[in-house]
């Protein structure tokens, strides 16, 4: 049995310590630490249901080792919005019927938040490229895109 080691990182604004195995993935650590909104979808960094924000960037937690989060700032869906005050994109998704099964939704929200935090009015091309990392099989993306346009300045460069 491999030995655990101690790491610490800021999880949703709170500095915390964790014991992790050397080969434990961040997804696994986050889920066992109570962040159930981080989803398993593929385990190979291709579907985006496990997306988290690390130091301001959207990342796949299923292909990062837990120790790679050491000393960094990690935000999961649990740290974005709540029933009384959802993030504007969460609200837009609900308003635009952009949520079907919901399994991809946290990943979509975190990708959008990471982008909007650094660029509140991204071009369409930039937005599509950034949101490219999360797959959805239910919606055909149409209503998710509608919701995104609502919170990103209405798609200033076109549709």
């Amino acid at each position: 049995m491999a030995e655990t080691r101690k790491i610490s990182f800021t999880l949703n604004g709170e500095k915390r310590e964790f014991s992790v195995l050397p080969d434990e993935h961040l997804l696994h650590l986050l889920r066992r630490s109570g962040c159930k909104g981080v989803k398993f979808g593929c385990g190979e960094g291709s579907c985006g249901t496990c997306t988290v924000i690390i130091d301001g960037r959207a990342e796949y937690s299923c292909i990062l080792y837990a120790f790679q989060a050491d000393g960094r700032d990690v935000r999961t869906i649990e740290g974005v919005g709540d029933f009384d005050k959802p993030h504007p994109f969460q609200e837009a998704l609900v308003e635009s019927s952009g949520v079907q099964c919901g399994y991809c939704t946290p990943g979509m929200v975190l990708s959008a938040k990471a982008l909007l935090d650094q660029d509140p009015r991204p071009t369409e091309a930039k937005a599509r490229e950034y949101m490219d990392g999360v797959l959805c099989r239910c919606t055909g993306y149409e209503k998710i895109w509608t919701a995104f346009r609502k919170v990103s300045g209405g798609g200033s460069d076109g549709r």
Binding site: E44, G81, V94, C101, C104, T105, W145
Partner: protein, 774 residues
């Protein structure tokens, strides 16, 4: 009949779970696993076809942390089907929890439940298996060849219903029907066509792979929390496969991460249940993505031969359809999918002569099952490309040819009565049909009039327009049943309990809208709980485009019964006859406006006043028809003649789903189906090695479109009023997945003049076709 105005129905109210889901609340199966939950892993067959000569699990059993090991030697041998269908299932009993034979790469050999995933995996490695490798059967042709190895040679495979089942010939299902005389009809046309189309393996890829957790409750009953479309069938079939009475099992479906048919399968509930029974601890099995591709379910690949003839005036004199589907190693949905190839496609166009033959064969490849579209996807492809060819041959606009020939309201088709789901069908005449309008509105939206023949196009990038028309059904008539119960609470709110299964489609929301409409209240007053075999009434589940139409009617009936009770209490309290009262804005109101009572006052009186009783009731519904939704799809593509790349520029889907109970959710169903169809047409396929092993079981190598790839999708809901449906509704979920294959093929032809009959339409295939044309 035109659309009608309602208070709650027809409004795009917010999906009731949307905010919680976007906040990432713990709502899915794996989120409920307790900390001490055992993790299950499965040992899969490395061979496509082999007999297990010996298996030694003793080392695995002795490993610290291993709680249970299952294989064919220590579980009962009970033939069953994994197809989550009503009883008696129209799928063969050819599956066992474990068998001494494996029939595809990815078939079950053994399973372990252990303290951690790592221990479970180590235990699997410690299981010693000796195989006698048999010759694999890896194609439709190989399956049907005389003297081919028999995949299901076990003596105990059978089917419960009286239909042809010939496992010794590798035939899982056969069906046939005829009307008139195909040969005579073919001879009467001015142009004859005879082409074969072949569709590929595809996977549903729900974002949440299959996942099930089971534990024993305080009364020693097995509670199975599972990502399923069919909780009641899951309870029945898991009980059967495990060998315990149905009453020993409770199945609960929490939120699930998509289904699309893959979860109309009782795929792992038996296994997880058995492991929990043996370990007497909670057990969780989560499929990996690779397992989801290989050891879940797929779309039946199909070879479809279409023979037709058409007169110069556009009348179709005959349609012959010969379908052979590949059901893979087990016959799950084999018969019903092949039936649907005919029954959901052939009635669309009127012709006096129809011949349909369907066969489904076993192979040693991954197992097919239910997949949104359910045979119609495969068969509509050939028929709709053929329509395009006919139109070209007689010099008629393809939209015009459809307008001339499609079935209309008030008309029947002999196909309805001849082809059912495993038995004869149910005769029906079409109720609502606004396909004409769908065609006209879709054509306008895409700019159909500007369409030019491919011969007038030049340059490297060439655009083309293609179209197709579609029908599906709404539930399985005389077979499927849904039920709902409603009770009233102190504050005038209602609990709506249903067996129905919301896969993310929003059925919990739209069914609440139906109840609220009937009760004169609003959606916030409806507290919905669904899909729990202990607490909710029965429902067949979410499949066959049934929930809105079938369960929606049950909900409407239950709500109308409760409405009557509320009116009676109101009448007593207000001193007016019930006939002079109405329910409106959560109040009992006198029609003359003189008096009113809030629902809360009514409920408080019923619960605490005099002659107390629970206001509430239950209702069940079966259907006698399966009214088709109709749709016309118009697609613009751009073909790069240098690289062969096909890009969908714009996709228009005009849909007649009757009354759209929630238009935004109906659009969402359409857009999701369309996008899934586009990916299937352009990228999705399984690649196998020479021994039947899947080579691309990964979302890196099996490509789904992302937000970057999406074309402009335009949905046009064309209202009609289906008198037999709740507030005029029909189904919407499946139909729109069927249009991309033929519509894109037809658009590619219009762009560059090549007909593609073997999807996916990859660059290689387009370039090859272009080269052959020259």
């Amino acid at each position: 009949m035109a659309a009608r105005e309602f208070n709650v129905v027809g409004k795009s109210v917010k999906k009731r779970d949307a905010l919680a889901l976007s906040l990432g609340k713990p709502m899915y199966v794996a989120d409920f696993a307790p900390e001490d939950c055992l993790i299950a892993k499965v040992l899969w067959s490395p061979h496509a076809h082999a007999r297990i000569k010996s298996i030694d699990v003793s080392a695995a059993e002795k490993m610290p942390g291993v709680a249970a090991v299952l294989y064919h030697g220590n579980v009962p041998r009970i033939p069953h089907t994994t197809a989550g269908q009503g009883f008696p299932e129209p799928s063969p009993y050819d599956t066992f929890m474990f068998d001494n034979k494996v029939r595809f790469v990815g078939d079950r050999v053994a399973a372990v439940a252990a303290r951690t995933a790592e221990i479970a995996e180590a235990a699997l490695e410690a299981i010693k298996v000796e195989y006698e490798v048999l010759e694999p059967v890896l194609s439709i042709d190989a399956a049907l060849k005389e003297g081919s190895p028999v995949i299901h040679d076990e003596a105990d495979a059978s089917i419960l219903i009286p239909v042809p089942y010939e496992p010794k010939k590798n035939v899982a299902a056969r069906v046939a029907m005829k009307v008139g005389d195909l040969e005579k009809g073919l001879a009467e046309g001015d142009f004859r066509f005879d082409e074969t189309y072949e569709t590929q393996y595809g996977q549903h890829t729900p974002m949440e792979p299959h996942v099930t957790m089971a534990h024993l409750d305080s009364e020693d009953r097995l509670v199975i929390l599972t990502s399923t479309q069919v909780p009641f069938h899951a309870r029945r079939i898991a009980a059967q496969a495990i060998g315990v009475p149905v009453r020993k099992i409770r199945v609960i479906k929490p939120r699930i991460g998509g289904g699309f048919g893959a979860k109309q399968e009782v795929l792992i509930e038996d296994l997880v249940g058995m492991l929990a029974l043996k370990a007497r601890k909670p057990v969780l099995l989560e499929y990996t993505r690779a397992e989801e591709f290989i050891s879940s379910r797929t779309r039946h690949p199909a070879r479809v031969r279409i023979q037709t003839a058409v007169k110069k005036d556009g009348s179709i004199t005959a349609i012959g359809m010969d379908v052979i589907t590949n059901t893979g190693a087990y016959g799950s949905h084999a018969l019903t999918v092949v039936c649907n190839c005919g029954s959901k496609v052939l009635p669309l166009y009127k012709t006096p002569n129809v011949l349909f033959n369907g066969t489904s064969v076993y192979t040693n490849l991954p197992v097919a099952g239910a997949y949104r579209g359910y045979g119609a996807t495969q068969a509509a492809f050939g028929v709709e490309v053929n329509m395009d060819q006919m139109a070209e041959a007689i010099g008629m606009d393809p939209a015009e040819l459809r307008l001339k020939n499609h079935i209309r309201g008030g008309e029947g088709s002999p196909v309805f009565a001849a082809l059912g789901e495993g038995k004869e069908g149910v005769e029906q005449t079409i109720g609502s049909c606004e396909l004409d309008k769908c065609i006209k509105l879709g054509a306008k939206e895409i700019g159909w009039r500007k369409r030019k023949p491919h011969t007038e196009k030049t340059g490297r990038l060439r655009r083309g327009l293609g179209m197709c028309t579609l029908m599906q059904g709404s539930s399985v008539p005389e077979i499927d049943m849904g039920a709902a119960s409603i009770k009233m609470n102190d504050d005038g709110s209602f609990n709506l309990l249903m067996g129905a299964t919301d896969l993310g489609t929003g059925s919990d929301t739209i069914l609440a809208q139906i109840a609220a409409e009937a009760l004169g209240t609003d959606i916030e007053k409806m507290l919905v709980y669904s899909s729990d075999t202990d607490l909710t009434p029965f429902d067949v589940g979410a499949y066959a485009s049934s929930t809105t139409y079938l369960t929606g009617s049950a909900v409407q009936k239950a709500a109308l019964k409760v409405r009557k009770q509320i009116l009676e209490v109101g009448a007593a309290l207000l001193g007016k006859p019930a006939a002079e009262l109405d329910l409106k804005d959560s109040k009992v109101v006198a029609k003359d406006g003189s008096k009113e009572l809030t629902f809360s006052q009514v409920a408080l009186h019923a619960l605490y006043g005099a002659n107390q009783f629970q206001i509430g009731d239950m209702a069940s519904h079966i259907t006698h028809k399966s009214p088709p939704p109709f749709s016309a799809h118009f697609i613009e593509v751009e073909v790069d003649t240098l690289t062969g790349a096909v890009r969908v520029v714009k996709y228009v889907a005009a849909v007649d789903c009757g009354t759209a109970i929630n238009p935004a959710l109906a659009e969402g169903q359409t857009e999701g189906g369309v996008m899934n169809g586009i990916c299937y047409a352009l990228t999705e396929e399984y690649r196998f090695d020479a021994k039947g092993k899947t080579l691309n079981p990964s979302l890196l190598d099996y490509r789904l479109y992302s937000m970057r790839d999406m074309p402009e999708i335009k949905t046009i809901l064309v209202p009609s009023y289906e008198k037999t449906g709740p507030y005029g509704a029909k189904s919407v979920s499946e139909i729109c997945i069927n249009g991309a294959l033929p519509g894109i093929s037809n658009a590619i032809y219009n762009a560059v003049g090549v007909r593609l009959r073997y999807p996916p339409f990859t660059r290689e295939k387009v370039l090859k076709a272009l080269a052959e044309k020259k």
